[in-house]
């Protein structure tokens, strides 16, 4: 494990350090395995955190007696910022938080590669470095340095754009620039070309430094360009993919430093991000290429009519809804992104508790892409103390709808659109959806008739058994709760 600047070439760095790194890598594997089961998840996370601590302490040991001022300053500042952010963040803002953390990881990998380039090549005595970067670092390290800059920079700027979109600071709608595919191809080719030039051919400090900076810049722009055209509801895919990239960036840094721990951990994260990306794509019946390049939601001219073209819908108030709910024996809540926006998870649970007290069977139907990141709804409902046994996956809940008296859809739209099964040619046709229309009554809590992300009409709004409850999700549920309580008291 030849770290480029390891001070002590003795037994410590030759044997002990690599062994401790191996222990750390194994612990990461156990940790990530733990994260795949509810019962072991917390322990898995702690195990991974312990592995990280071991890796950091081992590295500090390996460094030996160096000047720790910069290192300590960085650790303290970064650790404090991270800790405060993690403790303060609202559960509803989790997608934004994860996007930012992804970006930080990618950015760090980019900076490490740049720092190594300066430390190992550009800051050495110019007389000693007559040749190229490849001559100084070896061809493989030179190339991985450039790759690490590229992947890290794309992760960084892409994550920041994703964060801004999630925050609503820039439009969640897909922003499609003309000729963007050509521009992106050009940026990627440019970054790669400049990287190869910087690694193998360029000579002289100014040129090498300038080229490396140009690679970083082109990659940052590429990251922005890649995420800008992707719409809000596709964010689960994008965040999963950026998650994967942040792992790959770490692995690339591992290649730069010849550090197997970075390579292994980075590969693990890369794989887990890819798996989640795949799950999200399947849940939307779309290919990854379609998500990334499709500009979904723009071509809304489809069978089923435009987004705002509605016949008569039946609008009701909380009082009417409470009357229906009183006689319900089975109720399924279907949450969507609107629940997160309105922070309605706690009042949903209160209503569920009240219903359960009356002997009603309450469950929740969770679509895999409801919300803005994988598992978003599960986290929100867990925050509101909903037992996870009540959260049913799509395959489990769909057969249940026929025997369900009332479905309450809170801020979801496209994931309950019957057009996905009934209107061939519709943009959402073929996407697996929650078949809420099979239930006795569907209550749709929604601000307006405005279309969901797919930009298409939802016929469900016009169905005979649909009750539209217009309003803010939280306020409407609170009214509903008050009505139920009043009726119970009377």
């Amino acid at each position: 494990m030849n770290a480029p600047a390891a001070v002590d070439p003795g037994a410590l760095s030759a044997v002990v350090v690599p062994v401790l790194y191996l222990v750390s890598a194994v612990l990461f594997i156990f940790g990530i395995k733990g994260l795949t089961r509810v019962r072991t998840a917390r322990r898995g996370n702690l195990l991974a955190a312990g592995a990280m601590l071991l890796a950091v302490v081992t590295t500090l040991l390996d460094l030996g007696l160096v000047d720790y001022r910069w290192i300590l300053a960085g650790l303290v500042i970064g650790g404090a910022v991270g800790a405060v952010a993690a403790v303060k963040v609202e559960m509803t803002a989790m997608p934004e938080m994860v996007a930012l953390f992804n970006g930080a990881g990618g950015g760090a990998s980019m900076l490490v590669a740049l720092a190594v380039l300066w430390l190992e090549v550009l800051e050495l005595d110019p007389l000693l470095v007559a040749g190229t970067v490849a001559g100084a670092l070896g061809p493989d390290s030179a190339l991985s340095t450039m790759l690490s800059i590229l992947i890290g920079a794309v992760t960084l700027s892409g994550s920041v754009v994703a964060y801004l979109k999630l925050q609503g600071k820039i439009s969640g709608q897909p922003i499609l620039l003309p000729g963007r595919h050509a521009v992106n191809a050009l940026l990627l080719a440019g970054a790669l070309g400049l990287g190869v030039w910087a690694a193998f051919f360029a000579q002289g400090h100014a040129l090498i430094g300038g080229l490396a900076a140009a690679v970083a810049l082109a990659s940052l722009v590429l990251g922005i360009m890649l995420v800008i055209p992707i719409g809000g509801a596709d964010m689960p895919v994008v965040i999963s993919l950026l998650n994967s990239y942040s792992g790959l960036a770490a692995a690339a840094t591992g290649f730069v430093l010849n550090n197997n721990l970075l390579i292994i951990s980075g590969a693990l994260v890369g794989a887990s991000g890819l798996i989640l990306t795949q799950i999200m794509c399947v849940a939307m019946n779309r290919t990854l290429a379609n998500v990334l390049f499709g500009g979904f939601g723009v071509q809304a001219e489809a069978p089923g009519g435009a987004g705002s073209d509605y016949g008569p819908v039946r609008s009701y108030g909380a009082e009417d809804a409470a009357l229906v709910l009183e006689s319900a024996e089975t109720v399924v809540f279907v949450p969507g992104y609107g629940l997160a926006v309105a922070q309605a998870q706690h009042v949903v649970r209160e209503l569920a508790d009240l219903l359960a007290k009356r002997g009603c069977k309450v469950t929740y139907g969770i679509h895999p892409v409801a919300g803005r990141m994988p598992g978003h709804m599960n986290v929100l409902l867990a925050e509101a103390d909903v037992p996870y046994e009540q959260l049913l996956e799509m395959d489990k809940v769909n057969p249940e709808f026929k025997q369900t008296d009332v479905v309450i859809v809170v801020g979801a739209n496209d994931v309950v659109n019957p057009a996905a099964e009934k209107v061939p040619g519709s943009p959402v046709y073929g996407m697996p959806v929650l078949q809420v229309w099979e239930a006795g009554t569907v209550m749709l809590i929604k601000r307006s008739l405005s279309p969901g992300f797919a930009g298409i009409k939802n016929e469900l709004f016009e169905y005979e058994n649909t009750m539209m409850l217009f309003g803010d999700a939280k306020e409407m549920l609170q009214e509903l709760l008050a009505e139920m309580k009043r009726a119970a008291a009377a």
Partner: protein
């Protein structure tokens, strides 16, 4: 004999397969914690950044390395803490 690069590539490819095998079936409940936990692990680049900022002088490499340490430790500390916070909620039993 294999060169160091080839060994590294072996390690990388095998680790990817380990990742796929370990994370075969994740219940949707855990998608977010898995992602943020994995995200924290990707902060392992922190180890790399430590190597890059080890002298006391004010140089470009030290500045870059120090900034990398800041970003990576945000990623690591924030990632593990927020994951733990989420998982604590999943563990709670019905009151």
């Amino acid at each position: 004999m294999m060169g160091p690069l080839l060994i590294s590539i072996y390690v990388f490819v095998l680790a990817i397969f380990v990742g796929f095998e370990v994370i075969t079936k994740v219940p949707p409940t855990l998608h977010t914690p898995l992602m943020s936990g994995a995200n924290a692990i990707s902060g392992i680049t922190l180890v790399g950044s430590l190597y890059a900022a080890q002298t006391g002088e004010v140089t470009v490499s030290n500045l870059l390395g120090c900034l990398a340490i800041v970003l990576a430790s945000i990623n690591v500390v924030g990632g593990f803490l927020v994951t733990d916070r989420m998982l604590k909620m999943f563990g709670k039993k019905k009151r």
